[in-house]
Amino acid sequence: MGKPILQVSNLRTCFQTDEGSVKAVDDISFSVKQGETVCLVGESGCGKSVTAMSIMGLLQGQASVTGRMELAGNELTTLSKGEMRRLRGNELAMIFQEPMTSLNPVLTIGEQMIEVLLEHKPISKKQARMKALELIKRVGIGREEQVLKSYPHQMSGGMLQRIMIAIALACEPKMLIADEPTTALDVTIQAQILELLKQLKDSQGMSMLLITHDLGVVAEVADYVVVMYAGKIIEQGSVHEIFFNPKHPYTKGLLQAKPVIGQRKKKLYTIPGQVPPLIDLKPSCYFADRCSHCMDICLDQAPSLINDGDEEGHRVACWLYEKVAQ
């Protein structure tokens, strides 16, 4: 694994709503190395998509985004609008969660693919078209000529998801952010797509930030895992460490809760309670009221993300380990 291509430090994203300020992402830092796949996991609503959107700079006007985000040496927050725009879709691409609604319903697939190429690459329309055809083939959809002329509603969810991928890959980005690219899909199609992403990573040295809540998927593709809970990173480490040596009670809970074929239990493990609302949180460990190891300190002080020492890069934010470290 090479140098970090994406370095996120102290990212905070706040939404001002009528009810109050929503800290969707609260001071998180992580990095993605060249050719590496980092998985961002966590319960629904914990801020995964917002993290991705913040990196893409798509929250302007809606949220306050602070912190530093460095992409291949460029500090994203200091770029002008125009520079950021030129970067987006070109070196930094994203696949969105919902393929059905993420494509413009009144434009053909072709138009939507070609326009991104024309925008970023100095090529003619004809060349762009050729390139689009090639991309469609690459993501494993046949009949590429026909697909190019179709409208989004004429495609199935799986096809659309792959078209989204094709669009994201059109300009051969250095960094791909994929937000739950397979949630809507059948396992057999999911397998196809994961395979494709893996190939790309290998052939182009592309780095990837993959967001998912499916631990099975994580196990399959991730090199490194970042676990989020209520806007904060609570644990991060290599995929091995997370699966075989989880530290945070939440991570442990997640892994335990997952039913696994061939390991039937009478009663599945569950994490009691639910994610707290992200509005006006007091300083505390946000997991405290669901945690079986909750201590007094957990209720009035937020733990910081510390290196647990075991292995390079495995960090956890939990008072249990804070003590150990001390």
Partner: protein, 323 residues
């Protein structure tokens, strides 16, 4: 296998949707959402229905409970053909057979408090009086893991998992003996998923309910169901006991499904059957065996001949030429 009485019998169920292909093309397309499916469910049994998105699972569930008309076939609930009942008779049967919707949020009226949503059917059917209903609602909520202080909240104030439990509570409160649970967990993340699976297990034990459990997640189904049917493009491909199906899947599609299931274990590098191609358009399904376009074993014969749905082993049915 079981000698428990049959609760629900589904015979040659067909449901075709008519859709217009394009605006100017008035020749409507026929989407064969469910194409000749039969199975029975016994008292106290959980029957699992798996199959990828769009394979017709919800359609089967809704058709069974007479929430939409059938194209052909019959559904017999304890000797009554549900689709032949009059409106009044049907209303009498309703409380006995309940449905848990796939999407809990959209199946709850956003402007009705949960307490009212649960109390309403009881009052409407005269199953409780205004005095007793409160007690009953609170009990049921407790049973489904919803603390009583939620009773005055609106649906949007709940988390997805809680909402799913509200949906279940609404079905359970009528004290039915048969519930169709339509993908009650697939939209949720693991920890909530686990809560609901546990709840179902408990209910079944306590109340001897029969379930039709719909899901596309094989690992969940394995935890819950005694018998499982595998659906592909509206047709039953395989039907067997849980253990048989998981240990000895016969149909290539079932095999692919099981192998494609990601396993939460980074060291586990297993052989995976990668299927080619896409799910065909249900409006123009492939001829012959519907799976042949993606089947690794497909031969010419599969294109032409529809394989019979036959009993390959005792209690293990499959529709494939090569088994």
């Amino acid at each position: 296998m079981t000698n428990k009485p049959v609760v629900m019998e589904v015979n040659h169920l067909k449901k075709y949707y008519e859709t217009k292909a394009s605006f100017f093309n008035r020749q409507s397309e026929l989407v064969k959402a469910v194409d000749d499916v039969s199975f029975v469910i016994h008292e106290g049994e959980t029957f699992g229905l798996v199959g990828e998105s769009g394979s017709g699972k919800s359609t089967i569930g809704k058709s069974i409970l007479n929430l939409q008309p059938l194209s052909a076939g019959e559904v017999v609930y304890r000797g009554k053909n549900l689709h032949r009942l009059s409106k009044a008779e049907m209303r009498k049967v309703r409380p006995r057979i309940q449905f848990v919707f796939q999407d809990p949020f959209s199946s709850l009226n956003p402007r009705l408090r949960i307490g009212d949503a649960l109390a309403e059917p009881l009052l409407d059917h005269g199953l409780a009086t205004k005095k007793t209903v409160r007690q009953k609602v609170l009990e049921t909520m407790e049973l489904c893991g919803l603390p009583s202080y939620h009773v005055n909240k609106f649906p949007h104030e709940f988390s997805g998992g809680q909402r799913q439990r509200i949906g279940i509570a609404r079905a359970v409160i009528m004290e039915p003996d048969f519930i169709v649970a339509d993908e009650p967990v697939s939209a949720l993340d693991v920890s909530i998923q686990a809560q609901i699976i546990n709840l179902f297990n408990e209910l079944q034990e306590k109340k001897k309910l029969a379930f039709l459990f719909i899901s596309h997640d094989l690992s969940v189904v394995e935890h819950l169901c005694a018998r499982i049917g595998v659906l592909y493009l509206g047709t039953m491909m395989e039907l067997a006991d849980r253990d048989r199906l998981y240990e000895n899947p016969l149909h290539p599609y079932t095999k692919a499904l099981l192998s494609a299931l990601p396993v939460p274990d980074p060291t586990h590098k297993k052989e995976r059957i990668l299927l080619k191609g896409d799910i065909p358009n249900p409006a123009s399904p492939p001829t012959g065996c519907k799976f042949h376009t993606r089947c690794p074993l497909a031969k010419d014969r599969c294109q032409k001949e529809v394989p019979a749905f036959r009993e390959a082993e005792q209690g293990h049915f499959v529709a494939c030429h090569f088994v």
